[in-house]
């Protein structure tokens, strides 16, 4: 009898109990977090179906970004993620620039060469490329490239690749071929006066290639 009543009460109350509090950061129990994650995942899944505000063409988006944003801008096309956000420079440290999306995912470039990514879940922590001066100078040669990844077990792990740099089939394009650990990839850079206005670079095994196009240097 009381059990039945309790169950009805519970059924009525539980939906209201999606936890609330002053501080979702520290107060949550494991199952709050899982519930939140599930709700967010469900929301993310339904979102594409919902009619989005008039999708902008890439040109319109670029024009708008150039209008509202006075600083340097790039467009990054992530091939495997199927996303091509416009990213604005959020900071500069020497010749290193950090570009961010409005959602604060980041690409870090050194004079146009990819140094790292942030916020994408399978980020490239750091790339250290001996081939960088060759690419910039438009010279052929070879060198080592070390790519650091943060792995699931909680360590930053280096992967080393042997790379050769040479002129590509198209004029002004340098191609970097890298191989190691049974994997290979090819980066290409359009080099103009030491700058790299357009490039296609490999982030890592999970994220694949990103094409980076400078909208405003």
């Amino acid at each position: 009898m009381t059990t039945t009543r309790n169950r009805i009460l519970a059924a009525a109350l539980l939906p209201l109990l999606a936890a609330c509090g002053s501080d979702t950061e520290t107060g949550g129990s494991p199952w709050d977090v899982l519930a939140r994650t599930a709700v967010e995942a469900a929301a993310a899944k339904t979102a594409p179906g919902a009619p989005a505000a008039q999708p902008k063409s890439p040109e319109e988006a670029a024009a708008e970004a150039l209008r509202v944003n006075p600083g340097p801008l790039i467009r990054a096309s992530f091939e495997l993620l199927n996303q091509n956000p416009i990213m604005a420079m959020a900071g500069q440290n020497g010749d290193m620039r950090t570009y961010m999306t409005p959602a604060e995912d980041a690409l870090i470039l050194r004079n146009g060469l990819l140094v790292g990514t942030r916020g994408l879940g399978q980020d490239l922590s750091v790339a250290v490329a001996q081939t960088e001066p060759l690419i910039r100078a438009g010279r052929a040669g070879s060198g080592q490239r070390t790519m650091y990844y943060y792995t699931g077990d909680g360590l930053e792990r280096p992967l080393q690749f042997a790379c050769t740099v040479g002129a590509g089939p198209k004029p002004g394009v340098m191609v970097e071929d890298c191989e190691g650990h049974g994997a290979s990839f090819q980066n290409s850079y359009l080099v103009q006066g030491g700058q790299v206005p357009v490039s296609r670079q490999w982030i890592g095994p999970a994220l694949g290639y990103v094409t980076i196009q400078t909208l405003r240097p």
């Binding site: 009381t2 059990t3 309790n6 009460l9 519970a10 109350l13 539980l14 109990l17 936890a19 609330c20 509090g21 002053s22 501080d23 950061e25 520290t26 107060g27 949550g28 494991p30 199952w31 709050d32 977090v33 994650t37 959020a90 500069q92 440290n93 020497g94 950090t98 961010m100 959602a103 604060e104 995912d105 980041a106 870090i108 050194r110 140094v115 942030r118 916020g119 879940g121 399978q122 980020d123 922590s125 750091v126 250290v128 990844y149 943060y150 792995t151 699931g152 077990d153 909680g154 360590l155 930053e156 792990r157 280096p158 992967l159 080393q160 650990h181 049974g182 994997a183 890592g204 095994p205």
Partner: protein
């Protein structure tokens, strides 16, 4: 010395390429053979028989296998690269005990040690113990060799003793169990077993095996021995066949026959700590480091004259505090001079303290005038300053977006000063009140009548930090439904005409205080824990005031008073010596408690106890840790607890403990002494979202009175460990994340 070793480990290694690239390239180095399928005993294997295979190091998995003979729930952990362990909770059909259910529930523990790896012509060789804590239905030992014949075909041949040879060891029904019987190991006539695994494709493998396990059990009362058939009949033949299909990143289903007549099905999953769905996390990118302007463009900032302006520090501190708050970091206080700034932070978001420190360093470069060239970041969990990381600002500027090992090499980690001169606490932080209203789920395992019990309800909790280090915590719960009803402890058979399995009713138990001591004279400190469950009115599981302090550079203290846990209230005091650079911590804890009434409100029962422990904690390199506690437990028994754990840099913790006190096996009851395993996995590992929340559980044998301790929250070791040097360095890979 140790430090450079840790840094080398951070920067190091060529090993993990396959793991990042997901390719399984064969290497010249001998590595353990990785299992293709799980056996019905939840170990890498054939169908019922073992193999010399292992799981990837650190893998935590589960297998549920069901046939007419048994339902086996297995938890498996690859504790070391060459050591596999499995904890099993099986329902064995056909055997009847006092509960008269037609089956028994049985716990068992297995170990397998890889002796030799496969290399050239040599097969992999392993030795194993099944159900080795005391004599059980599955008790047996084996030696097994496994070899890849072709890339698809893998063969195992072994010798088995005990159950594996069809010679079940006799279980003495007068025995409390739980103690290894070394003299029985590898005794009797061994019988061979063999299995063949054909990997059809990436997902499917087919297995055939030859096994002497006849599914019998043997019992003795000292005089007579009687054998019982599990299930209905002995297997029709020694040949078993199975098919296993893997899907997703971590699941496997299987179908098998035992002896051709009995069909079984199983499901397995395995979590590998190395293959998180979002290894680098989905948190927003950190703020870029802002290099200082040139001296000519900001001569005033570089001169340091700003430090004389009394409005400067409050403005800087407020700006930095706001920016840190966005990152889930509380700026508790700050010491600021013309060329040095110390930020005291409490990390509320990141599982790795190093990530909070890295983000703070980045924001300090953006908030501080250029004359400040030394950045000190002090971690203050629960208001207690633990370690300080000192960085040269020029190093932070120079090393942004370089491998994490490089900033580790120039960072200095030291003990935080307890009360630095010039410390200014941030305005309006204290008293800080936070609350939460949400559901809770309580689980109870291992009750033979109902192996999975649960209770669901609502919980309101609040934390009020009055000043740094002084915290008032309270929780109120209202249960809605579930089946963990209130129940008295089991009636000892000698008081019940020899009948076992009956329990006192709550009314009987409450009305007769003499029942709160067992016939052996042991106070019931935990065996009446079910008296505290199933309350239909609100309960207060916790209401405490805790005070944390750091009297000297290496010494920490905690005093907690109030309703400490569901069953005990009182006062708990702890002192710990732990220099930040030391892998060794020493602690003393004394608790004076009184047993609470079963309604879990403000009244108490008569039982009072003092527990006291001397504890040593040691963090070995390579992620292993040990803890030794010696002292007096809740029932007045004296003894020691040994805990060993594997701790991964990603925050996974898996451990096991054993407690032996001066209670005899008869006084303790079933199991003879207390033991259990602990699992704690950070939720951020699974979701990618930054969070300090963990899913934590302790799986222990029955609630017994021996070796019981008061369950005080916020113990010093757990509070301090994240920001001490060993774990700081362990998580250092996230510094620039």
């Amino acid at each position: 010395m140790r430090r450079s070793l840790i840094i080398r480990r951070l920067m190091a290694t060529t090993l993990p390429a396959a793991m990042v690239l997901g390719s399984v390239s064969s290497t010249a180095v001998a590595e353990p053979l990785i299992a293709r399928n799980m056996s019905s005993f939840g170990m890498p294997g054939g169908i019922d028989t073992p193999t010399a295979e292992m799981l990837p190091d650190g893998t935590l998995g589960g297998t549920v296998s069901y046939s007419d003979y048994a339902l086996r729930n297995n938890v498996t952990f690859q504790a070391m690269p060459r050591l596999t362990t499995a904890l099993r909770y099986s329902r064995i059909d056909g055997i009847n005990d006092h509960n008269d259910l037609g089956h028994i529930w049985d716990r068992s523990l297995d170990l397998r040690l890889l002796l030799l790896e496969q290399q050239g012509w040599r097969p992999a060789v392993a030795v194993g113990l099944m159900d080795f804590l005391g004599t059980g239905v599955h008790s047996g030992e084996y030696l097994v060799a496994t070899k890849d014949i072709t890339p698809q075909l893998r063969a195992s041949v072994g010798l088995g003793w005990g159950a594996l040879a069809g010679q079940p060891r006799s279980i003495d029904i007068r025995d409390e169990g739980g103690t290894p019987k070394v003299e029985d190991w590898f005794s009797g006539t061994p019988k061979p077993f063999a299995s063949l695994n054909w990997q059809v494709n990436d997902r499917l493998s087919l297995v055939a095996e030859y096994s002497y396990n006849n599914y019998r059990a043997s019992y003795t009362n000292g005089d007579t021995v009687w054998e019982i058939q599990q299930g209905e009949d002995e297997p029709g033949s020694n040949l078993n066949l199975g098919a296993y299909y893997s899907f997703g990143r971590s699941y496997q289903v299987g179908l098998y026959t035992i002896g051709g007549e009995t069909i079984g099905a199983q499901f397995s999953f395995a979590l590998n700590p190395r293959t998180a769905p979002y290894p680098s996390g989905l948190e927003k990118a950190p703020a870029p480091v802002r290099p200082r302007p040139s001296r000519t463009s900001d001569p005033e900032g570089w001169s340091g004259q700003w430090a004389a302006d009394p409005t400067a520090q409050p403005a800087i501190q407020a700006a930095l505090g706001d920016a840190l708050m966005e990152e889930g970091i509380v700026l508790e206080g700050m010491v600021l001079t013309a060329n040095r700034a110390e930020a005291r932070i409490e990390n509320q978001r990141y599982i790795q303290q190093a990530e909070a420190i890295g983000r703070t360093a980045r924001l300090m470069t953006r908030a501080l005038p250029p004359s400040v060239d030394t950045l000190v970041i002090t971690s203050t969990p629960d208001g207690v300053p633990t370690s300080s990381v000192t960085l040269r600002r020029s190093d932070v500027e120079r090393l942004e977006n370089s491998p994490a090992g490089e900033i580790a090499a120039v960072a200095q980690i030291s003990d935080a000063a307890p009360r630095p001169q010039g410390l200014v606490y941030s305005d309006e932080l204290y008293p800080d009140f936070s609350w939460r209203l949400g559901p809770y789920l309580d689980l109870g395992l291992f009750d033979p009548d109902d192996p999975l019990r649960y209770e669901v309800g609502a919980e309101l909790s609040g934390i009020w930090e009055l000043v740094p280090g002084l915290v008032l915590t309270g929780r109120v719960r209202q249960g809605f439904f579930g089946n963990i009803d209130q129940r008295g402890p089991g009636i000892p058979p000698e008081l019940n005409g020899g009948e076992r399995g009956d329990h006192y009713t709550p009314e009987e138990y409450e009305s007769d205080p003499s029942l709160e001591t067992t016939p052996e004279g042991v106070p019931r400190v935990r065996s009446d824990t079910r008296m505290y469950t199933g309350n239909s009115s609100p309960t207060i599981p916790e209401l405490t005031l805790a005070w944390y302090a750091k009297p000297t550079e290496n010494v920490y203290t905690r005093v907690t008073a109030g309703l400490l846990e569901r069953a005990y209230g009182g006062i708990s005091a702890e002192v710990m010596w732990w220099p930040t650079s030391s892998p060794l911590a020493l602690g003393v804890e004394v608790n004076r408690v009184r047993k609470r009434d079963f309604d879990s409100l403000f009244s108490f029962r008569d039982y009072e106890a003092t527990t006291a422990f001397v504890s040593a904690y040691y963090q070995f390199a390579q992620g292993y840790s040990a803890e030794l506690d010696i002292g007096q437990y809740l029932a007045g028994d004296k003894g020691a607890t040994v805990t060993l754990a594997r701790e991964f840099a990603n925050g996974w913790r898996v451990g096991a403990y054993v407690t032996k006190t001066d209670l005899s096996a008869e006084e303790f009851g079933e199991g003879s002494y207390d033991k259990g395993i602990m699992l704690s996995l950070p939720l951020s590992w699974a979701t990618g979202k930054p969070s300090r929340n963990r899913a934590t559980t302790t799986i222990r044998s029955l609630s017994r009175d021996g070796g019981a301790r008061v369950d005080v929250s916020g113990r010093l070791y757990d509070t301090l460990r994240d920001s001490h040097e060993v774990e700081l360095y362990q998580g250092w890979g996230r510094f620039w994340r």
